[in-house]
Symmetry: D2
Subunit: 368 residues, 4 copies
């Protein structure tokens, strides 16, 4: 097990910035991380690792996102990564990251993992949710599960700053928790009866070809999936319970929407105080997020469109209250591949490096 | 005011079937009604009326859906309609139908109205919801509001059969109520806390050009709208309350989905009996709809896609139960322009004419 | 090799109609054929065969297109097929059909093959184009290649009527040839310099998952592919040359369009006679296709949209002439899975059975 | 008429950079220009003008693209613009720009006009093409038509640098000419028989609501429009003729593709020298554009997707040669709203200001 005797912050190369390895380069998470780091003033991609794509030049698989140093994707080797990188972003299938992360930590490489491997505080909880991971994955790194920081950047900034290992949140949990946590934290809503109806673009299903993600199949259609018991339910409940200091059981229903990117979470809960208005609740939300340019709170009556956050590391949130029944409806939109995945990972890298959290990350969308 | 001394059923012409006027031919509701009637064995479109399109030949505005008798769209005149038609489908803006319907009823033309004008039991309720109708609409037809039958075909079959005036339900109410009513009727769910999170394709916004319905605007995006107080909320609540014999207040949130057609309603409610399973509830649903080929109940674990009902007059419903908290989730998919509008109108015409409800209506989708 | 001593037309069962086996049921071609035959008054699907889907119930893989006799998909066995079917539609990967078709013909089953296996007059030509078929495919059925009829229904109606083996044309060749052949046949255009710029929805790439057909990849993008030497080039050239009685070499460039269904072919050629107008050429086109309800010729100035033929077995064609340079531009739209594949196959079955060519096939689209 | 006695380059404010007025702020062209200038290191938007949107705060109509100095959109007044701006980008309907541009030039404001008003060398040619402009537009600025520089940045860099008035090219002409000009310039292709088959996303039709641009209408469909005589034909021909030093008449056919952004031009022409290969022609292309990071030439066998240039000011071009008949096929992809409109306008501003042409403009897409 890696021990923590070395200083967390390696010195930044004054010319190149911090060096980052991206492992799992050809999937959407890795590709997106590379894209974001390419424009970042203080990070440089210095190593690409991959499983299926090992041996190929980056330029050959992604000519339209050229890297200055045209890298060859490597079959990931911890010793070699340690030569080239200060940080690693792991974008690997669930279960696989847990094989590599400990090796990197031992070599003083700080890790942001995009998979679910370190999102749970205990290995047993992880196993209870991800029991269907590929054969042959035997994990015994419960200590690391406990050490890892859940990288919901606006809610864990101090822990992330000092962490060796950050578990980047899932895309649905990011959209859902950003909407829900301010109200749970302040005890403004009932702990019972919370419902999250979430909608995602199809890139959330990854780049590996699957029949149901073909344009011919999912275009011109919307459908729920994973009703009751989707894996992200437990992830959301874990963090919601921590922030609420109370065990939260909620309903989470994802839907597949015929678009490339974007998540919208429509969150239904109930205010404890019947006197609170939508304006009051908006004031609460603005106060909680006032220091975070990555979160925009809309005025009452304007509702977020996922297009408004496309290609950005921003969440847009607004809410409405039905005074008839104390119902609070919070709507939260993110780009699933950026704020919901690779962008939040880079945001964590920024925080781990002592940089401004949103440094180098896109905040303004193109439109339409 | 029209009196009801004439027989309801005019005799069907043995060669041509019943004669139907479609008023509002060039909008999506009218166009869709014409398309469906064109293939119907017992109805014939004999009169086309329209406001903006008056004076044009049908073939010139819709060459790809030819009618045998190439009709010229007329500025609607009740006397002339009475010469040509036994039934009229009105597909006009809210408020406008109420000017024409009484005139047609007086002339013994039975009417199915696609607008909201006769969906409420009282004129005052209609006015409280539709106060933003075009200037100059002064309604005093409260008696007709009370007489009109809400055309949710599977739930009002006897009333429709004997009605002169049927108000075809809104698209969202159709999807929502088909899911909800079986459980409200049997008292299996709490009357409080019902949430309907609904998703619609953009054709639901009509054919009149609006910026937010441009492909450039709404493609690659999902967004909520009309949060709290969308007009369909009160329509759903009215019927839900009637069936439940209890005043129901619920949450209804529509979302705009980047697809042409289709509505999915995801309905969240709570079972009274903690012992009921998803299989139990599916059995209830199948029993309620066993006589209706227009409703398909899926086995537990399979969830409806709107693509499976595209271009059909069918609803597909399935459900799931979260045993942790008695939560019942019912999912209901329809084609918004057919089962949610013109198809249900033709289904009502069938019932009004003594024909099998689904006669001549498409039930099987093409795929993909 | 099958000999032709048995009568071509088996007798139709007066109750059930002709019996059809569909082999390759779960792909788009097979699925679409099943969907069309389900509504056909004179055919009945009596056998389903498949490779990957063998052993599954049809209802389990496609519940939304139920068949009365819920069939189990069989691993195709010629003797068994002969017990159950008069006709077979083969929807199998290129090269595989050639293993099954001879066996079926020997057993007096007439075959319509959706693959390219019998589209060329000689085996050597097929091999020169389809040299990349799966390993282990050794073909020696040159005689059958020569016997098979190219099933472009409007141009080969008599040959199809008397054929045991029909090769259904490719989707691009169907759209392209329907536009081009009338002018080649009558010698109205130059044989040189013909350009076909074709656009297809993504269902043309089949149902087998491939990365480039994922919605996340191909949505919001258009791209050419197979530039120079796409397999359909030679198929188009072969038929164009036969009809022109002159060797034709032309340019064919397909493009992938972000939509499920539809092909548009924009054909550029040059009129020999500088005096011909667009109206003249439209008259020619209308004359050629006057007996075919499956072909609609639009008036000059109206151009076909693929949406106008969606879910139909119809082609819509129109043209324009640039008088500056004798340029003739012909535009042809079809549904790639119906008129471009399974619908044309059923059209061939109709012809082979002595039925009206368009019997039971959809001609009118829904809209929008 | 404006005279040219004042120096072209105003001095740049060292803190804020050059000041730019955007007139026509709420349409796609204006919105996109604002979005690009917002991220530009040397320009600042200091004035917003508009017709329909005058009086509104920018933030209120486009909260997701905030400007530091939250501007109110003004009804454009030349004197006021002169107080606030060094440059103006005009994004106004055809004909309207010609009323404003002379007034701005007189006040020493250099203008980039996104409309077609100054794309033609003579007023008479403009009138022959744009005779359908709004009533009441009387133009007599032939001198300005002659003075204006056609802003195809890679081909007019010196003229743009010294110009007071730049006419930004149309989106289709940009994609088409970038592909075609290198070969016309060097006399490598026949002047006759050039065909441009172009495909555009629907944002090219503007933000003003029109029925045929509704998602419900144009989604899931592709269609040609403006066949023979589309306005961009003459625009392309004018520049092609200038570069070829020979009168060029060509075929240009646009198609509407169901996607938001992007243009693909597939250009068919014929090589004069039968010995030239695709590699030879690619070498020519690379040589012509070697100094322009805004143009990427792909290796033979790789074809551009519009998604690869989405949200960038880059064109990606590749080509193929059919050796059977000397056919050269050049494919060119751009983002219609950036390289095809507002991005190229900012590129011109850069050149006019002595900055690097691509300064501050996005070159790398996000993906997918």
């Amino acid at each position: 097990m890696a021990s923590r005797t070395t200083p967390l912050n390696k010195s930044k190369d004054p010319l190149k910035g911090f060096r980052v390895a991206v492992i799992g380069a050809s999937g959407y998470g890795g590709l997106q991380a590379i894209r974001l780091l390419k424009d970042h003033p203080d990070f440089q991609v210095t190593y690409l690792g991959g499983l299926r794509s090992a041996g190929k030049r980056w330029t050959d698989i992604c000519s339209f996102i050229p890297l200055k140093n045209d890298l060859v994707i490597q079959s990931p080797d911890p010793d070699e990564i340690a030569l080239y990188a200060d940080f690693a972003i792991l974008s690997l299938p669930n279960g696989i990251a847990s094989k590599l992360a400990p090796e990197l930590l031992t070599r003083n490489i700080r890790v942001v993992d995009l998979s679910a491997d370190y999102r749970y505080r205990s290995l047993s909880q992880w196993k209870s949710v991800y029991f269907q991971v590929p054969d042959g994955i035997e994990r015994e790194d419960n200590e690391l599960c406990n050490e890892a920081v859940y990288g919901l950047a606006e809610w864990r900034i101090n822990e992330i700053a000092n962490s060796r290992l950050v578990a980047a949140p899932g895309c649905f949990p990011t959209a859902s928790l950003l909407a829900l946590l301010p109200f749970l934290k302040q005890g403004l809503i009932d702990n019972e009866g919370i419902i999250i109806d979430a909608k995602s673009g199809t890139s959330g299903g990854g780049r590996k070809p699957k029949e149901h993600l073909l344009l011919a199949e999912c275009s011109e259609s919307i459908a729920p999936y994973g009703v009751i018991g989707h894996r992200h339910t437990s992830e959301i409940e874990q963090i919601a319970s921590e922030i609420a200091s109370h065990s939260i059981q909620l309903q989470f229903t994802p839907h597949l929407v015929p678009m490339v990117r974007g998540i919208l979470a429509t969150v239904y809960c109930r205010l404890r105080d019947p006197g609170l208005t939508a304006e009051d609740c908006t004031t609460v939300l603005k106060a909680v997020y006032r220091d975070f340019p990555t979160i925009e709170v809309l005025p009452v009556g304007t509702y977020p469109q996922t297009k408004w956050v496309k290609h950005t590391n921003k969440a847009i949130i607004s809410l409405q209250v039905d005074n008839r029944n104390r119902r609070l409806i919070i709507m939260s939109a993110i780009d699933n591949l950026i704020k919901g995945q690779a962008g939040q990972a880079v945001q964590c890298l920024n925080i781990m490096s002592g940089l401004r959290p949103q440094l180098g990350l896109p905040i303004t969308p193109f439109y339409p």
